[in-house]
Symmetry: D2
């Protein structure tokens, strides 16, 4: 692990230090079983489920910025796809897994600071596939994206 | 920056160490101007442009895994959206920026290891918007995703 | 108009006669100003608006069948796009028109008989574009399709 | 069939007469086995297949107009969905049928007159589903729409 040791942490700028801290905290959450993937861990996603709507919150920090200094559309998609996928798996039988087959996103407002919430709700629940709608709201409650996705229900290996 | 100092890097497992190394390398690339966002930097994206097709390559490591141990659909979307966005901005006038308005993705094969390449190509180039198609291939040349996106061309502030 | 005169209406089979009758009734509705396009007229679309949701009903007859004897996915799209478009134009200023920029549809159940209702509701209302969601229900209240669309708001000539 | 008999064909205006003629010609084509659905018949669709690309041509007449006097987005979707569906069924085994699961369309130019051609080409051919891309060109060769669709391959009853 020479690469890490050689690099002087002190040479990192503030954004970089904050990103490393966020990633390390994510590792800790993953070890504690609070999240099950490095993607969720790194973006500090936390989810809640009220029985109908699956809700993921995550902070908006430089780790999610695109080159224009706003939240990258792909990371917004990641938050929505995660919310949809967690929901789809939660309502599937234990021996089944749900995988994204198709995802459609409309971006309706830029996201700059604070935190976002991504929501997912079932539209259609078939035996082999599901359609789920998802959306993202800014900290001010503004809808920043709206999406629909279809998921295949497959055998869990 | 106590959090980073207190944490013993030696306590990280191999996946975690690899992720931190990848992120630190990304910071270095960003400082050198090889990439313009932390998102591209962390995922170690490298792009090429032949005048028609914009091509982004990135390694498939645990940093991109979902809870099923395959590349997260949102990160695949991030690679495609980045390829499309870099292309859209490259062919826009200097005083304009292109932002994702809508993105549609079909997932056609899981991605487990190696590296991927994301491609973007213009379908329609209007004065106010563009339609771009994108796709992802695995290291074996298998198409793992196919997408189309529409971009708004706005004034750069 | 020799073509029409020469053809003996008596030689038409029942489905064909029903289609011709439906089309002629549609012409009559259009003359009376109940509908503004031949597409709506031929498919006998009728719409209602409660201030929030635009609702279009239409009969399911052989005129809408695909070669498998069920409602053609394109005609389902036509019903949804019409509901969305009527809504988008209804809530736009008199000197503006709304045109479909992008349409995404998920088909969730086949449609065979009776009638359908297509619904449209605004998700995002910007100054230059809108995102609208739409869905179709069978006579039994089953969701047969779910859609989202984006519309550009342009100057009416 | 009193409705048809009572109506004086002479009272129809030119657009209406042309529409009735087109529909009657479509019935004739369907009887001759040139087309298999009333939808294709009425819109006078003709298709060709070169082994890779399925091509449907259709005339642009008032029968396809929306209230703005241009081709209805839903009818454009119908042409594309038909081209995709014919292709999907053509390359499926005889005991299987392909049905549209999801359809995404980008509209890139209005269509006013002449005729259009809709094209379909396979992007991904799996055992249970396919992804197909489609597009529409005006008589002048301008791309008016671009689409992708996913199809389920089901047992033919």
């Amino acid at each position: 692990m020479n690469t890490i040791n050689q690099l002087s942490i002190d040479q990192l700028n503030d954004d970089e230090k904050n990103i490393i801290e966020q990633v390390l905290k994510g590792f800790e959450s993953k070890r504690q079983g609070l999240t099950t993937s490095y993607v969720s861990a790194m973006y500090a996603m936390e989810h809640q489920f009220d029985g109908e709507i699956l809700n993921i919150s995550m902070p908006v920090t430089p780790i999610v910025y695109n080159s224009l200094g706003m939240m990258h559309g792909g990371i917004t998609a990641t938050a929505i796809d995660t919310a949809m996928g967690v929901l789809a798996n939660k309502i599937s039988p234990p021996d089944k897994a749900a995988v994204t087959n198709q995802l459609n996103l409309h971006y309706t407002a830029p996201i700059h600071t604070g935190s976002i919430q991504a929501f997912a709700k079932v539209i259609h629940h078939g035996s082999k596939s599901m359609v789920i709608e998802g959306w993202v709201e800014t900290a001010e409650g503004k809808r920043a994206a709206h999406a629909t996705g279809s998921f295949f229900i497959i055998d869990r290996k």
